[in-house]
């Protein structure tokens, strides 16, 4: 028994979390029973849905456990652990000191236990709990792939996730779909761990974003003018053309899938208008990053009086929101003429939206360091934290 406990402890969450989950589970059984008894609802207990509470609770545990299994064991999510590991002679063939990052037999046992309890509560929907575990685990893996620069795996998983929207009514098919995603995640994890030396080093852009670059950015922000704008700091690069197209297609596929599922709902129109306005506002975010602290080479009156109303080398930063506005307007008009093809129209619009937003926005480093503008301190200065010298 002691050996079994030690063996299980390799993957188990902390004791307090297990106790809390057990307590919540017992409460999810007891409280509905009390409610049914107190209000005498036994005759309509199925309609109340109260008996589904334990299943809901088990689903939550499955999600928490799935997130924990990847988040707590993957070195990419633990800065100190990763940095320490990089100093040791550890390699991917050896077990990880904090426990396995891949799914192992202990996980299978725990899942079996949760699934059995789910089956006990609902023999039809019990497959939802292992599916939720695998989805949560795969989502954490997806994040780790972005951080470890295994972009292809991240892309494939993101591309497969909308399949669940089509299959959610059939728990069996959903589970198969999720299992395929989990297998791809597993391959991705193996590939990522094999390249540990690469992604734990200084060349990892995302890790730099997390630690070194973030430190620089924090420094930059607290040091005031001129260090905030004139300091020798690099910014993250824009995606390449290939990745811009790939991401745009991904966005189109997601939009198509989501809208196909919700287009027959009564609140659809207001939802779409809200999202459209939100997207239009969001298209200004990359432009606002370029505008911040960078004034035009000549001022407004200078433009008017010299006849240089448009300065292409500066005004190119407005191209992205302009094209995106046109794109959204066109999509809105198209829906009026082809209301039966909403999903296709919005899928195509989302593809172009993402592509134009990414591709027509200047690279921030290019803009900051080589753009045709005047750097000035007034924009974005936080006067509550900074003091101006006389």
């Amino acid at each position: 028994m002691k050996r079994f406990t030690i063996w299980m402890r390799e993957v188990l969450p902390p004791k307090w979390l297990i106790i809390l989950m057990a307590f919540c589970y017992l409460m999810s059984i007891a409280v509905p029973q009390l409610v049914l008894y107190y209000f005498d609802l036994y005759e309509i207990q199925e309609e109340t849905g109260l008996l589904k509470t334990p299943l809901f609770c088990l689903g939550m545990f499955a999600i928490i456990f799935g997130l924990y299994r990847s988040g707590a064991f993957h070195p990419i999510f633990q800065n100190d652990y990763r940095e320490w590991l990089a100093q040791t002679p550890w390699s991917h063939e050896k077990p990880l000191p904090r426990g396995p990052v891949y799914l192992v037999a202990q996980d299978f046992l725990i899942l079996c236990m949760i699934s059995s309890l789910s089956y006990f509560h609902d023999p039809e929907l019990w497959l939802i709990t292992p599916s939720l575990f695998l989805i949560a685990h795969s989502l954490m893996c997806l994040m780790s792939f972005i951080l470890t620069q295994e972009y292809r795996y991240a892309y494939v998983i993101t591309f497969l996730l909308p399949s669940l929207l089509y299959l959610y009514e059939s728990p069996g098919l959903s589970f198969i779909s999720v299992a395929i995603i989990a297998i791809i995640s597993h391959w991705g994890l193996r590939k990522a761990m094999r390249t540990f030396d690469k992604w734990s080093g200084e060349q990892n852009h995302f890790l730099q974003t997390n630690s070194q670059l973030a430190k620089e950015m924090r420094l930059k922000n607290i040091l005031g003018w001129p260090h905030d704008s004139m300091g020798p700091i690099s910014s993250p690069k824009n995606p390449t053309l290939g990745w811009a197209i790939a991401l745009a297609l991904q966005a189109g596929w997601w939009s198509f899938s989501v809208i196909l599922q919700i287009s027959d709902r009564p609140e659809f129109l207001s939802l779409i208008i809200g999202i459209g306005i939100g997207l239009w506002v969001c298209s200004f975010i990359p432009t606002s990053r370029c505008l911040s602290g960078h004034a035009p080479p000549i001022n407004f009156w200078g433009r008017m009086r010299t006849g240089r109303w448009i300065i292409p080398s500066y005004d190119k930063i407005f191209l992205s929101p302009l094209v995106v506005s046109c794109c959204l307007t066109l999509a809105t008009c198209m829906t009026l003429y082809f209301p039966q093809s909403l999903a296709i129209i919005f899928g195509v619009a989302a593809t172009f939206y993402v592509f134009f937003t990414i591709y027509f926005t200047p690279d921030l480093d290019e803009w900051r360091l080589t753009g045709n503008h005047r750097i000035h301190p007034g924009f974005g200065i936080n006067k509550t934290e900074l003091v101006q010298t006389q």
């Binding site: 930059k220 004139m230 690099s234 001022n299 503008h373 200065i381 010298t389």
Partner: protein
């Protein structure tokens, strides 16, 4: 060496700098002076890459400003620009600020700690080193902002009015000596603007006078003195070069008063 080629800059329709070309040799201490609003700060901003001129360009050691990301990043480490009015973090201590600037420029930590301490001593700020900058007086804030270009050990210092802004005589003396030694011993190139000629004589060995957007004078002070003749002080010579109408204005004023 800094080379300025045919630089023209205007913000609206009035040109601030018109077709300026000049060279600033390495290791020189160059003062840029001129009447108010005549483009001293704009000139320094063009050198610093703060703005891209409408025409022309600036080269530092053969590298053109804003020509590529990598080159501009390298130039920003090499040439440091300190504007006349900086924004400093209120709630950070002077030491945190200086160490932060040093880290931003990848200065080695141990050297940084030592250098920061020496800078506090230089500017008589040792007692305030660990106090928030909001507690500093105007002159002390100016001193800490002046310490920031020194701590990064840049080869080229572009300083906009470093001697103004409430700096006390001890601070002026310290800065003057440091700039002189940096230029003479380390070969640093120093370009600074100054509103009054009195500050130029002892702080600079070269002089650039900007008037009406153009270079009126660009020469070493020694050569200028030789050209203008003996028996006159640098101040007198500069006043004649920069503010030729000032004496006449004063005379006209009093003449008008008597009448």
């Amino acid at each position: 060496m800094i080379r300025v080629e045919n630089v023209t800059q205007h913000y609206s329709v009035r040109p601030v700098l018109t077709d300026i070309s000049l060279t600033i040799p390495q290791g020189s201490r160059t003062a840029v002076i001129g009447p108010n609003g005549m483009g001293k700060t704009t000139f320094l901003s063009v050198l610093a890459g703060v703005l891209e001129p409408q025409r022309g360009h600036v080269e530092i050691d053969g590298i053109r400003r804003r020509s590529s990301v990598d080159k501009e990043l390298a130039l920003r480490k090499k040439a440091f620009f300190l504007p006349d009015r900086c924004y400093l973090p209120k709630m950070r201590t002077g030491r945190e600020f200086l160490l932060g600037v040093g880290r931003l420029y990848d200065i080695e930590e141990l050297r940084l700690f030592d250098h920061a301490q020496r800078l506090f001593s230089l500017f008589n700020l040792t007692e305030l080193a660990d106090s928030p900058i909001s507690n500093y007086s105007a002159g002390q804030q100016k001193k800490i902002s002046l310490a920031s270009p020194l701590i990064i050990e840049a080869e080229i210092l572009l300083l906009d009015e470093p001697f103004s802004g409430g700096l006390d005589p001890a601070g002026i003396l310290a800065l003057r000596r440091v700039l002189t030694r940096l230029a003479e011993e380390n070969g640093c190139t120093i370009v600074f603007t100054a509103p009054v000629p009195e500050l130029v004589a002892e702080n600079a060995d070269r002089l650039i006078v900007i008037r009406d957007g153009q270079i009126a004078v660009n020469d070493s002070i020694a050569d200028l003195l030789t050209k203008t003749g003996t028996g006159r002080s640098v101040e007198q010579m500069l006043n004649e070069q920069i503010f030729p109408e000032s004496e006449q204005n004063v005379a006209d004023y009093f003449a008008g008063g008597v009448a």
